[in-house]
């Protein structure tokens, strides 16, 4: 008996609902039901293209080398980056190469960094400037300092210059995080 009553009530409610409820409730009705006002649509995206393909490729390659190394390879990789870059970027990685060549802390800890380049996107209206997003993990074979740390995203401002027709080199490298 109880089961029949429940089924009958359910059918009644369902029928009433089908007859009286608009299929697409107004924004105000939805807002009243949810106690919130609908947000306005976001402005149109301002993506202005993917940038110069040569520049993007150069920055992506540079970033992949910059973030993937261990204590015994880091100085060599930074030197290689310095050889293939120009301007401020060259200074940055040349300094990194000299500092890491005899870095006791990196070697003693067996520290390594690895990751992937998640995005290289042009900055609208900023010429050959790009924002680079990487996701990196740091590990150490002889230290517990990095144990349990999840991979993290990092952002770098980069720029590239066409040093010869069709040949691009990274000219600016400014890590922001």
């Amino acid at each position: 008996m109880r089961a029949i009553s429940v089924v009958a009530c359910a059918a009644l409610v369902a029928g009433c609902s089908a007859l009286s409820t608009p299929t697409t409730p107004s924004k105000v009705a939805r807002a009243q039901a949810r106690h919130e006002y609908p947000a306005p649509p976001p402005p149109a995206a301002t993506i202005t293209g993917g940038g110069a393909p040569g520049a993007v490729a150069a920055i992506r390659t540079f970033a992949e080398i910059y973030i993937n190394w261990n204590a015994s390879t880091v100085a060599r990789r930074m030197l290689a980056l310095a050889a293939g870059s120009v301007g401020q970027a060259r200074s940055v990685v040349a300094l990194a190469a000299s500092e890491t060549a005899g870095d006791y802390e990196l070697r003693r800890g067996g520290i390594a960094n690895s990751g992937a380049v998640e995005a290289v996107a042009p900055l609208p209206g900023r010429g050959n400037e790009y924002i680079v997003v990487t996701r990196e993990r740091t590990t150490a074979t002889n230290s517990s300092a990095y144990e349990g740390l999840a991979p993290a995203w990092h952002v770098t401002l980069a720029s590239a210059r066409e040093v010869a027709p069709g040949v691009w080199a990274v000219s600016g490298w400014q890590p922001e995080s």
Partner: protein
């Protein structure tokens, strides 16, 4: 939004909340207790808001604090959903910062950013947890400010016995070192990601020099490498500010490091430089003996402290900071300041700040 209470030892708080009328008084008293019991190793307590109890320093300068646990089958009132709306069961490595009813007001650790990682150590177990929640908190735990609430699954991972959300005890919390290539290579902006870190020294007017090493100028101050991290520049600026001060055994101790003392000894002068680099809080007062365990073992890339029970000196960007001309002729003045020569480090323990 959920504003979970810390239950353990917090019965008074719950009663106060129910009564409503006495909430302000009890809350104020508890917050006063929190502020009053700020531990050493913090970076001061006044600037982070009314509920602040500690402000964590940079990696290597952790603090022992009071902790509680929450959630789990024996604590149904806490539920499974964090204040940000995420399911904590899907993120068992979570903690809550205590001290208020919102993310903005729960600032007992200085107002850490959402998802800030902390290394939490209990007994001999250590693990990383991420901030995903907040809580009101309660009175001190074992005399320590109650600043952190551990999600029960994380507490269990540390070996903390599950007591249905009623466990409380001291833990050690510490920022992990920065990760990522830019941080490891010293090229990420220093301190920009976390306003709660210790204040770096004023580097206005600091002479700069090209190359990776600091140089001693004829007037006794040091020029910092132009490309050095901000912390290193801050240390050099702090050293320049006290170079030439008279050496007095015990001098400088007992005064806030933010002040210039009339005299210094070896450890108080090293403390002053570490404060200038944002590596010690203003209230720190380390001796040469305690500096034997500062930071991490071994020489650093930019900074190396050589400490023993009876003396401490250091190298900052290759330039020695010492209180006497231990290397003999040509090693500068006999007083506190920069010394151009390398001296013997036999009998000293080498330490360095994490990341430097």
């Amino acid at each position: 939004m959920r504003t979970r209470q810390t239950r353990n030892g917090g019965a008074i708080v719950l009663v106060a909340l129910c009564a409503g009328v006495v909430l302000a008084g009890v809350g104020g008293a508890l917050l006063s207790l929190l502020v009053a019991s700020s531990p050493s190793g913090s970076c001061g307590s006044a600037s982070a808001g009314p509920a602040a109890a500690i402000v964590l320093g940079p990696p290597g300068t952790g603090a022992r604090v009071g902790a509680t646990e929450y959630g789990g089958p024996g604590d149904p009132s806490s539920g499974d959903v964090g204040a940000s709306g995420i399911n904590l069961l899907a993120h068992p490595d979570s903690y809550a910062e205590l001290g208020g009813y919102t993310f903005q007001s729960a600032t007992s650790m200085g107002g850490l950013a959402y998802m800030t990682p902390l290394r939490v150590t209990w007994a001999d177990h250590s693990a990383i947890a991420y901030k995903r929640d907040f809580g009101f908190g309660g009175p001190p735990v074992a005399g320590l400010p109650r600043v952190i609430d551990l999600w029960w699954e994380f507490a269990s991972r540390l070996g903390i016995p599950y007591e249905r959300g009623l466990w409380s005890g001291p833990v050690r919390i510490e920022r992990p070192p920065g990760t990522g290539a830019s941080s490891l290579l010293g090229q990420a902006p220093t301190g920009s990601a976390d306003a709660a870190s210790c204040p770096a020294g004023n580097v206005a007017g600091l002479p700069l020099t090209p190359g990776p090493r600091a140089t001693l100028l004829s007037n006794g101050v040091a020029a910092a490498p132009a490309g050095a991290p901000a912390a290193v520049k801050g240390m050099i600026a702090a050293g320049n500010a006290i170079a030439g001060k008279p050496y007095v055994y015990g001098g400088g101790h007992g005064l806030p490091l933010s002040e210039i003392a009339p005299s210094y000894d070896c450890s108080s002068s090293v403390d002053h430089l570490l404060y200038g680099g944002g590596l010690l809080p203003a209230g720190a007062d380390d001796t040469s003996g305690t500096l034997e365990s500062f930071g991490q073992p071994g020489p650093g890339r930019w900074v190396t402290i050589y400490a023993s029970y009876g003396h401490v000196f250091m190298y900052v960007a290759g330039l020695r900071w010492d209180t006497w001309n231990a290397a003999g002729a040509g090693d500068g003045t006999t007083g506190i300041g920069w010394h151009p020569l390398v001296r013997s480090s036999a009998g000293f323990v080498a330490r360095h700040p994490v990341g430097l």
